[in-house]
């Protein structure tokens, strides 16, 4: 298992390199130059030359790429073109907000998606089955940002749920959050009031973000459970007189879960990126809003850095999903010919 994981991890390196190159080239092909953007139209030639040299934009493209790679290896994504701050620092600050949101959404999605999928499979062809599968299709068809607005309209306002915006930690507490994951921070401090408040803020964005994975998980659960329910070992279990609940939940569900787990892994990567829209609707200060703001401000170094972090996380999630598949399903032999 371990050598296989390592090999897969190594296999990610060339892909990552290509991704860095692709983003680098794309961002550099953007029309208009960052120097004009920084100085405005009024910059004198001397000023322009100085800024251009500062940013290293006067060097050949290949050298620029080399310098970027060198920084990247040391975890340095360069400096923002517009604000006096390092992109890595900003991303480190934003990442927990996005991760927390995606994680909460995934918990909701798994909880409701699994339940709906199991019920649909057991009650195949019944009204509930049709209803939940129709709802699943509705779930993937509704634009997340619109759903977010509807949620704000229906449940938002101050009570019961604030319409987004992450809790302002500094305004409530004099100690710094240790991890940046506020759920974790609140738990570490045993601060239940804070936890509750924070979860209240998380509620609406998580629900909006959860719809798509919920739909995907419920469909996957239903189809793979239906498949295992039709197999011989399930019939054997029934013939032995095992209760129906146990047949479904122990005998049939366990093998069915293998594909569900893979889907969860893949969807988690998608969630981190899908958060772009949800975060914008709810003014959630995560990576997604950072990308969009940077694009609008033409802060290309920031776009480049954030895009890279999101893409890397996405790849890691896909890798983990792949590895989990092998871990959970003893029939899948890893390490041999894939």
């Amino acid at each position: 298992m371990l050598p296989f994981a390592l090999r897969r991890l190594m296999g990610m390196v060339p892909m990552l390199f290509l991704a860095v190159l692709a983003i680098f080239l794309l961002v550099r092909s953007v029309p208009g130059d960052p120097v004009t953007n920084m100085l405005g139209e009024k910059g004198t030639p001397q000023e322009r030359a100085r800024v251009t040299a500062d940013l290293g934009l006067d060097r050949p493209m290949l050298v620029q790429f080399g310098i970027y790679l060198e920084g990247l290896v040391q975890g340095d994504l360069g400096r923002s073109y517009l604000k006096d701050e390092s992109v890595s620092g900003r991303i480190a600050e934003k990442f927990p907000a996005t991760f927390e949101l995606a994680f909460c959404a995934m918990c909701l999605a798994v909880l409701f998606g699994l339940t709906a999928g199991i019920l649909s499979a057991v009650l195949r062809g019944k009204l509930l089955d049709y209803l939940s599968m129709f709802l699943a299709l509705v779930g993937v068809s509704i634009p997340v940002f619109w759903l977010g607005l509807i949620l704000i309209l229906l449940l938002g306002g101050d009570a019961p749920f604030p319409s987004g915006e992450r809790i302002d930690w500094a305004a409530h507490f004099d100690y710094a959050p240790a991890t940046g994951f506020y759920v974790l921070d609140a738990l570490l401090h045993g601060d239940l009031a804070m936890l509750g408040e924070h979860l209240r803020h998380l509620a609406l964005p998580s629900i909006a973000l959860a719809t798509i994975p919920m739909a995907v998980i419920s469909r996957m659960t239903r189809s793979s459970l239906l498949e295992t329910l039709g197999q011989d070992f399930v019939r054997t279990a029934r013939a032995k007189g095992v209760g129906e609940g146990r047949v479904v939940l122990r005998h049939a569900l366990q093998p069915a879960l293998v594909s569900v787990i893979t889907v969860v892994g893949l969807q988690f990567g998608t969630l981190l990126a899908g958060a772009v829209l949800t975060e914008t609707v709810f003014n959630w200060p995560g990576l997604g809003t950072y990308v969009v703001d940077s694009v609008n401000e033409r802060d290309y170094n920031a776009v480049q850095g954030a895009a890279l972090v999101i893409a890397t996380t996405f790849m890691v999630c896909n890798l983990v999903a792949d590895l989990l598949y092998g871990l959970v399903d003893p029939r899948v032999k890893l390490g041999g010919a894939a």
Partner: protein
């Protein structure tokens, strides 16, 4: 009509979900084409009455911040959203299908080069890739929107077609075609492609729905068409500003958008049931 076709149509008619999806899509397309024609006012024109009117008999969907009729604007928005989605998916097809055909048929170096590219594109979440592409194409405009959504769709088509070709390549009819000395292009497009059309149709239908969503999402982020143009994403973005006072401005375009995407998804799903031999009952 060949007997297969009639049978397929009859099966489609019996598949209620698929039929419902098809009707939904047809109705929304018809409305988008027809509704703006039946009104003398253009969707940009002001009604001359007060802005922010709630839905009423005179204005079924209400009016927006400038007093424009939202029913008109919603269906005019449908024209742009559908146009963007169709052209973008067309673009993905034109690039993705030949890539997949060539990769699957020739294998070897061509195959690995194409598949590396596909993997690279798929290693970016689609919305992120679309955002970066729009930026690289010079920011918000109709062209960059269509191009970005189109490019994002390419890898799925290439991958699907390649898979189909891999499965078909060694079949007798291809061998026969090769033995007859037919040109490669003829084998690819006249013999392999038609046999891969079923799954390709399903993917195309589903992809149109996703393309509509992606385009609207980009517009919502301010990276799509100009704010002034009626497009579902920009309309929802505009409605967001006055959500609590006049929710209808955001609600109706979103409703139209969701119904359209739902229609394509229902229809695509139904088609898959009908065309997939494994699912045939």
């Amino acid at each position: 009509m060949s007997p297969f076709r009639t049978k397929a149509w009859r099966r489609l008619a019996a598949h209620r979900m698929a039929l419902f999806g098809l009707v939904l899509v047809a109705v929304l397309i018809l409305c988008s084409l027809a509704v703006p024609l039946f009104f003398s006012a253009s969707p940009r024109e002001l009604t001359g009455e007060t802005a922010f009117l709630p839905p009423s008999l005179a204005h079924w969907f209400g009016t927006d911040d400038l007093g424009r009729d939202l029913l008109l604007r919603t269906f005019a928005g449908g024209r742009i959203s559908l146009f963007v989605a169709f052209v973008a998916v067309g673009f993905s097809l034109v690039i993705g299908v030949p890539l997949g055909l060539v990769a699957g048929y020739f294998g070897g170096f061509v195959d690995s080069a194409v598949m590396r590219l596909v993997d690279l594109m798929l290693s970016f979440p689609s919305i992120l890739l679309a955002i970066v592409l729009v930026t690289a194409f010079g920011g918000a405009s109709l062209q960059s929107l269509v191009l970005s959504v189109g490019i994002v769709g390419i890898p799925q088509f290439a991958r699907q077609v390649r898979g189909e070709v891999l499965a078909l390549r060694e079949r007798e009819f291809v061998l026969a075609a090769r033995a007859l000395g037919l040109s490669r292009r003829r084998i690819l497009f006249r013999h392999l492609l038609p046999n891969a059309l079923g799954p390709l149709t399903v993917l195309t239908t589903l992809r149109v729905g996703t393309a509509i969503l992606e385009a609207a999402g980009l517009s919502f982020l301010g990276l799509g068409v100009e704010v002034d143009q009626a497009e579902w994403g920009t309309m929802i973005k505009a409605g967001r500003e006055t959500l609590s006072q006049s929710p209808w401005i955001a609600i109706f375009p979103g409703l139209a958008l969701s119904m359209t995407v739902l229609g394509f998804n229902l229809f695509g799903d139904g088609l898959r049931d009908l065309l997939d031999p494994r699912e045939r009952r």
